[in-house]
Symmetry: C2
Subunit: 275 residues, 2 copies
């Protein structure tokens, strides 16, 4: 991968991982993708909080916080002014063959630094492909950023084939869940609406920032079930993730959105924030 | 992992995998777990057929069949009389950051050989734990043995904690899907019944062997929706996988099964088969 500037595993520079790692065998782990700007890891506390939540949900001991912070500092020291830091935490090496953790596994930290290009999102917004791949209901894993991402891979592949910026993934019952690599918001009058993520999807860090900040911007916020018909009546639509920030959507399938003033106002606001 | 006798990646002995592998990042790949007995890979054709099906479903080119057969032969040459061969095939190294495959990725073959103990299943059968973890509906992935196995990890962890041999995983709607590491059959009179796996679960190789062989044993076969109440009226219950073969179940939650004559007859029959 040409963009990788370096990888450290448990603090040591390397580009290989033991083949016995449960991350490879089962996707037994978590990740975070963090925007680095001028030597600062943006929204780091929120990323670490989600990682800790994920560890708890996977019954993976989160006792490596200090080491991880040192890993991050060391990687940032090598980073250009714009970069991406990807953290992967796995349950570590399998102690026996088979799905069940035996207890006593030692989590493994994989930190990779990537070069990033300046933000280049068109002002008029991006197009989303309506994905044929559902975001499956799995309450035990909903919200956390775990390593089981084949649904996202298949949906992102469709979006790429359709020339779209991202795929919009429905739930099994047809409700809207999220983009393959982003969260979705609808603007309806003075209210932002974003799907509940109790059964599927990843609770994105930029999503949480928008939810936190909307009050300061004079906007109401509702986390609730959103249906395709909510797209038909939306004033604006935007997507979020930690790397792209807030990005207006121009089109989702047959629905076109001519307005994006509120989305752009939010986008400009979150660009000024680092935490 | 003390049981590993050797690992080969793309034919070469090694115990590390590049950190850029999409199997680690997204679980973007497939696996097979094959029983090796006296230098022979049991039911190899069925394993390779499922692997090819999985590749097709993941849009992963299956053009490495000859190399994989050579890998398998080389590993078997090192195998004791009882062994397990685990094949992992990933989409290979990421060509860019992000979920979408870029096209042109080169699949990676990881072949690991493990020592196996002789079959030691109690004649009276094993107990299953009723899992709180559902086997989530995902039609795009149902049936294939992909690397996104966190559900199975969490369910197997519960079973281990409960002292059970395996966990019985329900679907989101309460129907029965499968064990965490096995498929389930119910014996009702002269009929075997096993869940449809069009929305969730892995279509096991030993499951397909039982489905194929039941006619020879004078048993009817129905693949259909099974509900917990079907357990209440079952004569016998058994589970299957490629390593354990056919194993009678003594208890699932509150349901106890006193009979296992048909299950044991099927178990003995499949033990005589290698293909």
């Amino acid at each position: 991968m040409t963009e990788v500037l370096g990888t450290w595993i448990d603090g040591a520079p390397t580009d290989v991982v033991p083949v016995s790692d449960r991350g490879l065998h089962f996707g037994d782990g978590l990740f975070e993708t963090i925007s680095i700007r001028n030597g600062r890891a943006r929204f780091l506390a929120a990323h670490l909080e989600r990682l800790a939540t994920g560890c708890r949900r996977l019954h993976l001991p989160f006792d490596f916080g200090q080491e991880l912070l040192r890993d991050i500092d060391a990687a940032i020291a090598k980073a250009p002014s714009l970069a991406v830091l990807k953290l992967i935490v796995t349950r570590g090496d399998a102690r026996r063959r088979g799905y069940a953790p035996q207890g006593g596994e030692v989590p493994r930290r994989v930190v990779s630094l990537y070069a990033a290009a300046p933000r280049s999102i068109p002002d008029q917004g991006v197009d989303l492909h309506l994905s044929s791949i559902v975001s499956g209901d799995q309450p035990a894993l909903a919200g956390i950023k775990h390593l089981n991402r084949l649904e996202n891979v298949l949906a992102a592949r469709e979006a790429r084939g359709a020339g779209a910026f991202d795929a919009l993934m429905p739930g099994a019952d047809g409700r809207i869940v999220s983009g393959a690599m982003s969260n979705l918001f609808i603007v309806a009058g003075n209210e932002l609406r974003t799907p509940l993520l109790d059964r599927a999807g990843v609770a994105g860090v930029m999503r949480s920032v928008v939810i936190r900040e909307c009050g300061h911007l004079g906007l109401a916020l509702a986390q609730r079930v959103l249906l395709p018909r909510d797209l038909a009546t939306a004033d604006e639509v935007f997507i979020t993730n930690a790397l792209i920030g807030v990005v207006p959507v121009r089109r989702v399938g047959e629905h076109a959105f001519k307005m994006n003033a509120i989305s752009r106002r939010i986008a400009e606001h979150v660009e000024t924030l680092d935490a």
